[in-house]
Symmetry: C2
Subunit: 350 residues, 2 copies
């Protein structure tokens, strides 16, 4: 039997719902001209490659909160997180000057290339930037629209709004802390962890869980348990991301090797390396961050300083914390689902 | 007696509500560090200088739709449009490379200057861009949050959502058409008017009217009348803006003289000039648009070609259309209010 509770079915429904939502937007807007049809196609294509992680947490929150696992509306509501994430990625790549995303040119680079290839008037870089800013804005609006057109009654939507609002605010604030962090000469592990908490743990795990649980009308204790589960898991998720950002296989991650190093990101992994390295190591770190030529040397330093092991240990500790928090979830099926998501988030290769 | 129906009182309440909303956000977020408190201060300061035009239309729509003019909740809901507009302006200035807004440095320039003045690490321009993108994203989220926390019951909010969603989508699509328009060698009056319709007429006038009316539970005929009134008025509003963008007094507009010319904007005024100018004039236009050195010459061309008069006539025609549409509004007080807004929008100097 096809059931929503089956991971693959959930993914299929989410993809179907995103496609259906885009179809409605296309019907409404594409008469405005080929440029708009094209703009919408880019959005649709971009979201096709997502990992659907936030929707999976939203669905898990719904189940933990006592929602009917077969309720088709939750897939639609959960899918809206993919637009939020797509919006954040499009803007993030522009801010970071990233050339690729999900194995393809990033959105601003794609529009920049089109401008150049077509010999259009004006500056290609500015055109790429404008298109990426606007596409990100559009996707942020689509996230809201898709969420509140999920078919849930207004009382359920109203229960979930505070968590969704918090999610949207926290991710921006976390990213701003990140941008500010990159302007400082040094980043402590504590600073880097604060960014991880907002930019990732709350945004990727805790809030999607809360939104799903609130839609289901979860008890306050369930919401609290989901925080205890979600925050350490979200932190572990981001620490894994940091490791993949340096040591991940480009074919699997869709990002060039050492991309975080090249961009000069002040991750926990980098902060820990700074903490553990000797004077020579620190000098190399300050010289090499944000510089594509030093990726090999820096990777070696991160490993040899013991920072990689330290972060792996931190992930293991957070995993243990996450697992312990699962005891707060009473429904057995919901608990199994959360456990599965935990493994997927912290032991992944992309 | 102090009544909401009084323009100045509405403005005061809107400012109060925006301040109160910011206070809540500050309470929730500023413990994250001085950078975040500062980020929020910039948002609060930015929105302090708005004309409150979209809230005024939202309130007028509420009255036209049969809402109680004294209902305090409508000021709060209407105020949310100021965040939407602030978000659009912050992103717009970044895309256009504008240095000033409302008589002060634009947001990206402000953060860029801070970076430079404090001797921070990394590229100042990239920091300014990142801060402006994120602030715009935050304000877009605040628009939603403020709107749905207005205290209206969920049924009213649900009635208004489709209009608010349309508003948010249309402004982005209109801006994208604008960005695309600037990459073409020529812009026809028809192309420019299409952009005006989406970027301004729907976004600034029609949709705020609809949102207010829908909150009040307006009849479909009222919604239709507000479209008939709002679209020509919104078009006239933007045409006035185009004229002020070239001929406006910088002290009053808060923008340098000829800013639109310097930025190479393809406004209806410019498209009309192209249509009416002779070969020499067209050559000057192609040479001078986007170039600060030719502002004087281009202003003269716009005037001497007859384009300025033609656009003034177009505004007068749209005003007549708008006035005729007022007959569809049955409530006399609401009609008077809409008439007042019409005059304010089309005969302003800023």
């Amino acid at each position: 039997m096809t059931t929503l509770a089956d991971d693959l079915t959930l993914q299929t429904f989410i993809t179907e719902d995103l496609t259906s939502f885009v179809g409605t937007q296309r019907g409404r807007l594409s008469h405005l001209g080929p440029e708009i049809g094209d703009f919408i196609d880019v959005a649709a294509e971009f979201v096709a490659g997502g990992k659907r992680l936030r929707p999976a947490f939203c669905y898990a929150g719904w189940c933990a909160g006592g929602g009917d696992p077969q309720d088709r509306r939750i897939a639609w509501a959960a899918a809206s997180f993919e637009w939020l994430q797509a919006s954040a990625l499009v803007h993030d790549d522009l801010m970071d000057g990233s050339d690729t995303r999900r194995g393809k040119p990033s959105i601003h680079r794609r529009f920049e290339a089109r401008h150049r290839d077509s010999g259009l008037q004006g500056d290609a870089g500015q055109f790429g930037m404008g298109a990426a800013i606007l596409l990100g804005d559009l996707l942020l609006s689509w996230a809201d629209e898709m969420f509140h057109t999920s078919g849930f009654d207004q009382a359920a939507i109203a229960r979930a709004f505070p968590y969704l609002d918090a999610c949207k605010t926290e991710v921006v604030v976390g990213q701003f802390l990140d941008v500010v962090g990159q302007t400082k000469a040094e980043t402590t592990v504590a600073d880097a962890m604060r960014i991880v908490r907002f930019k990732s743990a709350k945004y990727t795990v805790e809030r999607p869980l809360h939104v799903g649980a609130a839609l289901a009308g979860a008890a306050p204790e369930t919401i609290a348990s989901l925080t205890e589960f979600g925050l350490p898991l979200g932190e572990a998720f981001q620490l894994r991301d940091d490791i993949l950002g340096v040591f991940g296989d480009p074919v699997v991650t869709g990002k060039p090797a050492g991309d975080d190093v090249r961009e000069g990101k002040r991750t926990v992994l980098i902060a820990r390396t700074y903490e553990l390295a000797d004077a020579d190591g620190r000098a190399l770190l300050q010289r090499g961050l944000g510089n594509a030529d030093h990726i090999g040397e820096l990777s070696a330093l991160i490993r040899d300083s013991g920072a990689l092991d330290a972060v792996e240990q931190q992930i293991a500790g957070l995993e243990a914390e996450t697992e312990a928090a699962l005891q707060g979830i009473t429904d057995e099926a919901a608990r199994d689902r959360l456990y599965g998501l935990m493994l997927k988030s912290t032991r992944r290769s992309r």
